[in-house]
């Protein structure tokens, strides 16, 4: 287990120090991707929090969003300045209670934080895949997650949860591997990305392609297309915020003066400009430009309705109970999309709950405003688990 004893600097309800883990899957037979191409072996970076119980029925899989990673909770070192990306939600007594659940989070296929992606070395050539990496879909990411769960000895998860691109993975999982999870929690997400969302992704990718350092994807790791990638991040970041949150946090305030500079080349005059530049700069330090291309494309491709004749027919394949959550200020995955999904799940006769949460932070709310999220996730998971235990008890009685 990856949890060590609580450190003095780390709060008691934190999972504490965690160890990044790694495994190699699809060694004997490669994964057949949605595109028809094959890929294998695949290295998967993951972390786990809490303990898998004897019945192996307390697993909860966390799916990260576009640029997230496997480090969802806890800290890697005692002096780590920042915990994992969903740390306030995951821990002893927290929304996803690690005293109760065994939580797993893995970096997605095509990512750049330890799982095989375009920046990995192709064992056949000894060089980075770059754009020779096969095209990916959300389904391909889920196929790898699903295999990881099996490799950990878990037949059926108590729940799968994720926001944004993570929510798409949850939906795909519930529909394609219906026996593998009892609950599906879809947050600030949808059954597809809107045309507007695809448009923003397209501009982001164009920024990367147009960077002279891009070199057809075979860029020198010493000089990556950082301007293009930073610009892609700046554009995307705007879609994660709301008009209100930008107004509140930055307003029209200037960065370091209350006078206009009248300097046309000063790109950080307004605070919001400076903030976006900072976001862009930080992002290029941790993210692979080619991964960004593959992952945004996978997001564009995702369309749950394509698994069957209609969205409702696709939903009919699932057996999990669903919790769908949206945010009133999210315009990338607006509430109307969550309602459409809920409606399709109802049409398919599924157990589904839907809530719209109020939070001013736009799409990013699910990473920021954790208490309202925990308040609904906690009872939902608890009730799912209770229902699973009743089901297991019935199966035992039936087989006697």
């Amino acid at each position: 287990m990856s949890v060590s004893s609580a450190q003095s600097a780390i709060p008691e309800d934190s999972v504490g120090l965690v160890q990044p883990q790694s495994t190699v899957l699809f060694q004997d037979s490669p994964l057949v991707l949605a595109s028809g191409q094959t890929l294998g072996p695949i290295t998967v970076a993951y972390e786990t929090y809490g303990r898998l119980n004897e019945a192996r029925d307390n697993g909860v899989f966390v799916c990260h969003a576009l640029t997230g990673d496997a480090h969802a909770a806890g800290r890697h070192h005692a002096d780590d300045p920042k915990p994992g990306w969903w740390d306030p939600l995951i821990g002893p007594g927290r929304g996803i209670d690690t005293n109760e659940y065994f939580v797993i989070c893995a970096n997605v296929l095509g990512g750049c934080q330890g799982t095989t992606g375009p920046g990995s070395i192709n064992p056949q050539t000894g060089r980075r895949y770059n754009l020779s990496f096969p095209s990916l879909t959300v389904g391909d990411m889920v196929s790898v997650h699903s295999e990881l769960v099996r490799s950990l000895g878990i037949e059926r998860l108590c729940g799968v949860i994720g926001g944004s691109l993570g929510g798409m993975q949850v939906l795909d999982w519930a529909v394609r591997f219906p026996d593998q999870t009892a609950a599906a929690i879809v947050i600030a997400s949808g059954h597809h990305l809107s045309a507007q969302g695809i448009a923003f992704n397209a501009v982001g990718r164009r920024a990367i392609y147009a960077d002279p350092a891009f070199q057809g994807g075979s860029w020198d790791p010493e000089s990556p297309p950082r301007f293009g990638l930073a610009l892609a991040r700046m554009i995307a970041h705007i879609t994660y915020l709301s008009e209100d949150s930008i107004a509140l946090k930055f307003g029209r305030r200037l960065q370091d003066s209350d006078q206009f500079a009248f300097d046309i080349l000063k790109e950080t005059e307004f605070r919001i400009e400076s903030y976006l530049h900072h976001q862009g700069k930080r992002f290029v330090q941790r993210f692979d430009a080619n991964s960004y291309l593959y992952l945004t494309r996978a997001m564009d491709y995702f369309d749950l309705a394509r698994y069957s004749g209609s969205l409702a027919e696709s939903c009919a394949r699932a057996s999990a109970r669903f919790l769908v959550l949206s945010y009133d200020t999210d315009w990338l995955f607006p509430t109307s999309q969550s309602r459409e999904l809920t409606s399709a799940l109802l049409q398919a006769g599924k157990h589904v709950s839907f809530l719209e949460l109020d939070c001013s932070f736009g799409h990013d709310s699910f990473l920021i405003d954790i208490d309202p999220l925990a308040e609904v996730i906690r009872p939902f998971l608890k009730q799912t688990r209770a229902s699973e235990q009743r089901r297991a008890a019935r199966t035992r009685t039936d087989s006697q």
Binding site: T342, L346, V352, F354, L355
Partner: protein
């Protein structure tokens, strides 16, 4: 509303719902009725409400709850997906009662509705006597803070059903905390009434 009348209304509603049927409860509150329907009658249920605390209470019971504003109709609920739609003590609070009733019978075969009766003698007397907006047990609000937008009597309700083409399969006036099948001067004596509705063919 006092607990006694809540229990009475719940039981009245349950009496008209078939076991193992599909039931949607509009304005489900904390989900107490749908939990009984699930447990005691094996119904497949859905709670609809606008308040987050109510939706959470339903989820805490392990039941599904969907947030919706009844003033905007039931557009997320697929047609014909339920056998029964329940609307208890809520019709008078929605902006468009007739649209909601038609919506209920779009999503369900039968609608079960409990409404306060503004024809009740105490209300008539109070208006007459004090010259003020009535405040009674079933209408416990002041005019400026009441959630009740519409005040209808049993006569009014019947007339509306006639004009929007719905059949009253059953009408039970609630008098002194008891639902009765028939009563003399019901519109004067009942403080509320229960209706079982169907679409006219």
């Amino acid at each position: 509303m006092p607990d006694v009348s809540v229990r009475l209304t719940d039981e009245l509603i349950m009496k008209h719902i078939d076991a193992s049927s599909r039931v949607i409860d509009l304005g489900c509150g904390d989900g107490r009725l749908i939990e009984r329907l699930r447990r005691e009658m094996d119904c497949q249920v859905l709670g609809v409400d606008l308040e987050r605390s109510n939706l959470l209470a339903v989820i805490e019971r392990g039941l599904p709850a969907v947030a919706a504003d009844l003033d905007e109709g039931l557009k997320d609920i697929p047609s014909g997906s339920y056998d029964f739609a329940v609307l208890s003590q809520t019709l008078q609070q929605v902006r468009h009662p007739q649209q909601l009733l038609l919506e209920m019978l779009r999503v369900a075969r039968r609608a079960l509705v409990v409404v306060p009766n503004f024809g009740y003698w105490r209300i008539r007397l109070e208006v007459l006597w004090s010259g003020r907006t009535p405040v009674t047990g079933t209408l416990p609000y002041e005019w400026h803070n009441t959630p009740n937008l519409h005040f209808m009597s049993m006569y009014d309700f019947r007339e509306l059903m006639e004009s929007i083409g719905l059949t009253i399969v059953r009408e039970s006036p609630i008098i002194h905390g008891r639902a009765v099948d028939r009563a003399w001067a019901a519109n004067l004596r009942a403080d509320s009434a229960f209706y079982l509705l169907e679409k006219r063919d």
